[in-house]
Structure formats: structure tokens, C-alpha cells
């Protein structure tokens, strides 16, 4: 009697869970970074793709480090990230195929308006970081293996310093938005991608203190399909369709046309150059 009841319950249990596993070809899982999701870019561009192809895109927005990890484990079908060095080793290990550059913007160094470290007059990004270190001004680091964090560490390395553990160097382990909010509260500096800062600028009193189109601040985004020979279950056809769309004239124009509320272009399309109206 009791055994029968338990058996019924067990069947019920799986009946509830199994519908979730109906993973059809019309669903695509994209791991991406908070910078593309929080700026609203994906919410703007993906519905158009969905309408064209009938493929529903599920976005999992995390840091670049985790986005790549999810792709490596085969938990997503395609990934859109911005950490060229990490992407290269990802490709080299054979986790991904068909890596395509999609768009880019620039990292900027932001900080309190009165700029206590005086980085506004710095000659380049490395010099600006050195000035922050000299002034022992609070610096907020993402500390989460994201694309931004990876770049920040690269700049510190170029400045020949390793601030980890210093009292003025604060690792948040949080997304860009939260890190900007924290820099605002602490009156500190931080490295941000342009898009996130523009989206967030009306909520904080931070200023873009150092901007420049140098190689060290260049922030390109790539889209990569998960290698179907490693993970046969992935929706490879869907991933290729998304890559195709993002790099097509239509997709590239959409990226170039996407602005924040005040008309600033947040991402420059990389494949097909479109005259920007922002600069």
C-alpha cells in the first residue's frame, strides 16, 4: 500500500520535471556578459532575430569568465564575450568554433568629479593607473574574471604593479553596475566599459576621467559557437544562424543604431563600418 503510494509520487515527480527537458531546435542558449545585457542591447536586437528565424534566444548574463565556462561545459549553445586573450585560449582548447568579431567600444577610467589622483591629465591608461596607485585613491576592481576585470589586470601588469591586497584596492566580485555604484559611494576610481557607464551615468556622480582610443582600452566583442563535436547536443545550427545575423549588414546596422537614452552610441559594429552619428 505505502509502496504503491510512493511509486505514484515518484512518477508524479518525474512528470513534473520532464517537460523542462523538451529542448527543441527552436531554442538557443546564449551566455553573454552583463555589459551587453544590462545596456539593453540584447533586448533590442534579439527579438528581431527571433521574429526572423523563429528561434527563441535565452540569455544567461554573467561575467565573461563564467560565460566561457558555461560554453566549455556545453551548458549553452553560443557565447558573446569580450576578453580576447581568454577567447583565444578557449578556441585553442577546441571548446568553440566559428569565432567572429561583432562589435567594440572602449574601456574608460571613471572616478569622482574632483579627480583627487589627477588622472584626467594622464598621457595614457597605464600612467593613469600609476597615478591612482601613487595617490592611494580607492580603486574598485570587478574581481570576477569578467572581460573588464581581465583588461584591468592587464593594465596593472603594464604598469608593472600588482595592487591585489592593497588597502585602497577593493575587489567587489560583482557586476559592472554594482561596481560603478560602489565606486560612487566610496568616491573611488574604476575601469568600465563605455556602454555600461553611459547606461549608468545618470545614477552616479562619477565622471569619465580618462578616455582614449588606445589599444589598451580597446574592447572588442566576439561571438563563438560551442564546438558541436565536443557537445553533440548543442543547437549548432541555431548558433550559426545567430552568428550570421549578428555579423550580417542588418545585424551590424542594428548594433550601430543602438543608443542609450541620450543618443550615445554604445557599441560600434566591427564587421561592416557604419558612419557613427555620435562622434
Amino acid at each position: 500500500m505505502t509502496r504503491k503510494i510512493y511509486l505514484t509520487l515518484l512518477i508524479l515527480f518525474f512528470a513534473v520535471l520532464l517537460p523542462g527537458s523538451s529542448h527543441a531546435a527552436d531554442r538557443l542558449k546564449l551566455s553573454s556578459t552583463t555589459s551587453t545585457d544590462n545596456t539593453g542591447l540584447l533586448a533590442y536586437i534579439l527579438p528581431i532575430f527571433e521574429e526572423k528565424t523563429g528561434i527563441r534566444v535565452d540569455v544567461i548574463a554573467v561575467g565573461t569568465g563564467r560565460a566561457l565556462k558555461l560554453a566549455e561545459n556545453g551548458d549553452v549553445d553560443v557565447t558573446l564575450v569580450h576578453a580576447p586573450a581568454k577567447e583565444r585560449s578557449f578556441m585553442f582548447a577546441g571548446y568553440g568554433v566559428n569565432r567572429r568579431p561583432v562589435m567594440a567600444n572602449y574601456f574608460i577610467i571613471v572616478g569622482p568629479g574632483d579627480d583627487p589622483a589627477g588622472i584626467a591629465g594622464a598621457g595614457n591608461a597605464v600612467e593613469a593607473f600609476m597615478m591612482i596607485r601613487e595617490a592611494q585613491a580607492p580603486f574598485i576592481s570587478r574581481g570576477d574574471e569578467s572581460g573588464t576585470h581581465t583588461r584591468e589586470l592587464a593594465i596593472w601588469k603594464a604598469a608593472d604593479s600588482n595592487p591585489g591586497g592593497a588597502r585602497w584596492y577593493l575587489e567587489t566580485g560583482k557586476g559592472m553596475g554594482e561596481s560603478l555604484a560602489m565606486a560612487d559611494e566610496k568616491r573611488g576610481y574604476t575601469l568600465s566599459d563605455q556602454g555600461s557607464f553611459l547606461k549608468y551615468s545618470d545614477k552616479v556622480e562619477l565622471a569619465a576621467l580618462f578616455t582614449g582610443r588606445s589599444k589598451l582600452l580597446y574592447n572588442p566583442y566576439s561571438i563563438i559557437a560551442v564546438n558541436p563535436s565536443r557537445h553533440p547536443h548543442v543547437n549548432y545550427a541555431g548558433a550559426i544562424k545567430l552568428i550570421e545575423f549578428m555579423t550580417s549588414p542588418e545585424g551590424q546596422k542594428l548594433i550601430g543604431d543602438f543608443t542609450d537614452g541620450s543618443g550615445n552610441v554604445l557599441f560600434e559594429p566591427l564587421v561592416i563600418k557604419i558612419p557613427s552619428n555620435a562622434q
Binding site: Y6, L17, D58, K174
Partner: protein, 231 residues
């Protein structure tokens, strides 16, 4: 202060206008937390009854185990769930990661020990004579069980409400196992986390208030049930 009032006004506006995205997020949260709580209760209450009414070696250890699991951190459940449900994990073939069912599994793991531990306490607090009286009056084993559970209905309802409260309010496991996918696995709590990270505090606040309102309605509903069942 001005900012806080602004956020609250915005929150109320959102709630009153019944924004369709907010509604679908709320509905998903309810569905996921409700299903997980229901499953946890269906499996947990019979198990708890057995633990409470039988004497077996290692009973104390089992109780300690469930009491400890009541304090299970939600991110740890998320992490464990991820390692099992990921393609790299043993249950990857089920394709449950980043689906509502994935969140349900995490929530189930969170609610189950809570419901078991509280139900054991509820059943243990029922007078031993209730069981004996039911037996004397010719009740079958199942009838005796149902009678004892009926005698414990207040505490039992409280156990289920607690389980529901834990899962509808948790964010760690829902974020890791659901992935916060818009329109698919975005729950109230992961949406709050997202909106907070985007600096959209008023929307986050609105969702928070809505979550509280939902929790309140569920509690009122359960209280009504408690009252009706004692008539």
C-alpha cells in the same frame, strides 16, 4: 530620502499598472515555488511522519542531518545543482539546467529538509493518545496517519508555509540553476538582483514589494485554510 520615496512611488505605479512582464515574472515565481513546495510536502511529510513515529537506529543522526540542512546556503545548492545538472555533470543529459524545472529542483532541495524537520516537530508534538485512540477506533494504518497529521494541522501548515517562504525568497540557487533568462527563468528574486545591479532601484523595489504582497496573500490563504479545516 527623496530618492527612496521616488522609488516607492515608482514601485506602486508599476504594481497598479500590472506591467505584463512583472506579472509573468510573478507568475513564474509562484509556479516554481509552489511546485517545489508541493513536491517537498508530498515527499517530506510521509518521510517526516515515519521519522517522528518510528524508533530506528540512527534516528537522532537523521534528525540532526535534516536540521542542519535547514541552514543550507542557497548558493551552495545552486553550485551543487549546477555540478549535477551541467552537461559536464551526471544529470546533464536531462537538459534541466537553465530551465524552470532546474529552479524547481534547487528549491526542492531547499524546501525539503525544512519541511521534514518542521513536520517531525509537528507530528512529535501531537499527543501520543491521538494515535492510540485512532487505532482503538478501528482506523487502518493510513487512516491513523491521516488522523495524526490532521491533529497537527496548524504546525503542519506552518511547516509548508515556511518551506514556501524559503524558496520564493531565495535568489542564489534560482540564479545559478535558472540563469535569470528573460521571459523564461526570471523569477522575482533574480529580477530584483538584476535590476539592482543595473541601478534600476525603483523597479527592484517594486518587485520586492510585489514579492512581499504575494507572500502575504499566500499566508492569508493558508490561515483561511487553517480556520476552515478546524470548523
Amino acid at each position: 530620502m527623496e530618492y527612496l520615496i521616488g522609488a516607492l512611488t515608482e514601485a506602486l505605479k508599476l504594481i497598479i499598472s500590472l506591467d505584463s512582464e512583472v506579472l509573468s515574472i510573478a507568475f513564474l515565481s509562484l509556479k516554481v515555488a509552489g511546485t517545489a513546495t508541493l513536491l517537498a510536502a508530498i515527499f517530506g511529510i510521509p518521510l517526516a511522519y515515519t521519522i517522528a513515529t518510528r524508533d530506528f537506529p540512527g534516528r537522532g543522526a537523521v534528525l540532526t542531518f535534516f536540521n542542519t540542512l535547514m541552514a543550507l546556503p542557497t548558493v551552495l545548492v545552486g553550485l551543487l545543482g549546477y555540478s549535477f545538472l551541467s552537461r559536464k555533470g551526471p544529470l546533464g543529459f536531462l537538459d534541466l539546467l537553465f530551465t524552470p524545472s532546474g529552479i524547481i529542483i534547487g528549491d526542492l532541495i531547499l524546501a525539503f529538509p525544512l519541511i521534514v524537520a518542521l513536520t517531525v516537530a509537528a507530528v512529535s508534538s501531537v499527543d501520543e493518545r491521538a494515535r492510540i485512540t485512532a487505532m482503538n477506533l478501528g482506523a487502518s494504518r493510513l487512516q491513523v496517519t491521516l488522523t495524526v497529521l490532521m491533529e497537527a494541522r496548524y504546525a503542519l501548515t506552518a511547516a509548508v508555509i515556511n518551506g514556501f517562504g524559503r524558496v520564493i525568497a531565495e535568489v542564489g540557487s534560482a540564479m545559478m540553476l535558472g540563469g535569470n533568462i528573460r521571459g523564461y527563468t526570471r523569477t522575482m528574486t533574480t529580477a530584483i538582483a538584476l535590476e539592482t545591479s543595473k541601478g534600476e532601484f525603483s523597479l527592484a523595489m517594486a518587485l520586492g514589494l510585489l514579492l512581499l504582497a504575494l507572500a502575504l496573500s499566500i499566508n492569508l490563504l493558508f490561515r483561511r485554510f487553517q480556520r476552515v479545516s478546524t470548523q
